[in-house]
């Protein structure tokens, strides 16, 4: 149970690096400060979760890394480049909370969308099929989103994010809308996919058990404005098994996270 060495967050070739990042949203009344001096780093191949109560700005962090938003202060690099360059190079895939599949496209067509947009759909069909096989949906390639369950839709979204062969996967509470059992199953699936593809995963969640079960490291974000409260390395053996959740070590990690979270959650 060792908090990660602060000096270790400065890595020469980090997959994702945030330095003193601040974010203010201009609203009609008062400017809203959501992030304050957030610094963190994700190593290549690492699985890092960003944990925090709702409204702490954890999704904002992910959107800054993905160049959906631009930070007010500080510096972000993705593979040593600016988020914009990384986005144009298809350095990362993004998985949203709702699967965000296009309703008029079949499973295969949804997975092919990123390649169509970048202009290499012609040679991507095989890769898309391989990915559908990887996420266990080979038989559903011509099904439409309305014919799929929530968990299946999210697996299509993961395949879509992986189809450009990015080195980084950004995931914004991807299993937040699923029921407990599906969620547990999807966690195992995600670890299997992570191991098979050797990508770096930066995963936003508000569930401490989920964060501990999946991650090499959990970064806890406080609220208003969001700042890093804890950067906790998870020294639990891999591959991880659901039985791990019943161990004392697992409970110690979740307890540590919960204590940090409770201190941060204001009851209003």
């Amino acid at each position: 149970m060792s908090p990660a060495d602060p000096s270790a967050s400065r890595i020469d070739l980090a997959a994702i690096q945030l330095e003193e990042v601040g974010m203010t949203f201009p609203t009609s009344s008062v400017p809203l400060r959501v992030l304050e001096a957030v610094s963190l780093a994700v190593r290549p191949g690492e699985f890092v979760s960003l944990l925090g109560p709702s409204g702490c700005g954890k999704s904002t962090v992910l959107r800054l890394v993905a160049d959906i938003l631009v930070p007010t202060d500080g510096r972000i690099t993705v593979n040593g480049e600016s988020p914009e360059t990384a986005r144009r190079r298809r350095a990362f895939g993004f998985v949203f909370q709702d699967a965000t599949l296009l309703a008029w496209r079949s499973t295969l067509e949804n997975v092919l969308l990123p390649l169509e947009i970048s202009g290499d759909a012609s040679r991507g069909r095989e890769r898309a099929r391989r990915l559908l096989d990887l996420v266990g949906l080979a038989k559903f390639e011509s099904a439409y989103p309305w014919q799929l369950s929530g968990g299946m839709r999210q697996r299509v979204a993961i395949a879509r994010a992986l189809v450009t062969e990015p080195r980084i996967l950004l995931m914004d509470e991807p299993f937040g809308a699923l029921d407990e059992i599906t969620r547990e199953y999807m966690n195992l699936e995600l670890l299997r996919i992570w191991q098979a593809t050797a990508t770096t995963i930066f995963f936003v969640t508000h569930s401490s058990p989920e964060a501990v079960f999946l991650s090499d490291r959990v970064v806890v974000l406080g609220t208003r404005p969001g700042r890093v409260k804890l950067d906790l390395a998870v020294d639990l053996p891999r591959p991880r098994d659901p039985a791990l959740k019943e161990t004392v070590e697992f409970a110690r990690y979740t307890a540590a996270l919960r204590r940090t979270l409770v201190g941060e959650t204001r009851l209003e």
Binding site: I68, R88, F94, L102, A103, Y144
Partner: protein
């Protein structure tokens, strides 16, 4: 999918057929039956209101006359339908991409909408003469507005996360339009097009009342003046079949294009 499987049993299929065709037919036959009976029982004179059986006979006997006139109205209604909807779709695309343009032109569209079509029809006949032009324009005007409003709504009814997805994928503006906004607007567009089918027939007929020497509207005016009530009712029936045929064509086109929606609401 389980629901679809349950339908496949022969019994379920018969029940579904009865629900789909049997019940609507029963409703229509009841009304026609009452109509026929009422006129026979109370001896309503045929020049006031003919029974359905007489209208059917007239339809057959007067078919050459009806056939000669229905073509004109079809051209006017379909022409107006195409013109009005094409303009509405183009304007909607313009509005979504250019807010100042929307601010400028939307009030004009509303103003055009608020002028009663019956009031503007004589003006257009004065301006455009006695041929197809004023009829097509009136049919276009009447079917234009619902499509404009629905198409704008449809093009804007895109989830924030879908736009974020397009941003992450570094999609161009054209790709966002053709791969996201346009397909997601189609269900809205077809809802409007279905309304526009009936409206365009109304527009064409009203325009023919003002000044025409052929068409279903012309036939309605003539048969009323000449007290040929049977022909009047037969013409009305043809007009409503025309609107129905246009409506069903749009429904068929929708089924062909908008394939991603389930036929029945999901349970």
């Amino acid at each position: 999918m389980a629901i679809a499987a349950a339908r496949q049993t022969p019994r379920g299929r018969v029940a579904a057929l009865i629900r789909q065709f049997g019940l609507p037919a029963l409703g229509i036959l009841t009304i026609l039956g009452y109509w026929e009976l009422h006129i026979r029982l109370f001896s309503v004179p045929n020049y006031l209101m003919p029974p359905p059986s007489l209208i059917a006979v007239t339809l057959v006997e007067e078919w050459p006359t009806l056939e000669r006139n229905v073509g004109t109205t079809v051209i006017e209604a379909v022409g107006g339908f195409l013109l009005g909807n094409a303009v509405a779709i183009l304007l909607a695309v313009l509005f979504v991409h250019n807010r100042p343009m929307e601010r400028t032109l939307f009030p004009v569209a509303v103003a055009v909408r608020t002028v009663p079509i019956i009031a503007i029809a004589p003006i257009l006949v004065l301006l455009l003469g006695n041929g197809y032009a004023p009829k097509v324009v009136i049919a276009a005007l009447i079917s234009f507005f619902p499509t404009l409003v629905n198409m704008v709504r449809g093009l804007q009814a895109v989830e924030t996360s879908a736009l974020e997805l397009m941003r992450v994928l570094s999609a161009t503006k054209a790709q966002v339009f053709f791969k996201l906004r346009l397909p997601s607007s189609l269900p809205f567009l077809f809802a409007a097009l279905k309304i526009a089918t009936a409206s365009s027939v109304i527009g064409a007929i009203v325009a023919e009342w003002i000044g025409a020497d052929t068409g279903l509207g012309y036939l309605i005016v003539i048969s009323t003046f000449e007290f040929r009530t049977g022909l009047l009712y037969a013409t009305t029936a043809v007009a409503s079949f025309l609107a129905l045929a246009l409506f069903l064509s749009v429904v068929a086109l929708e089924r062909l294009i908008v394939r991603w929606q389930p036929d029945t609401p999901r349970q």
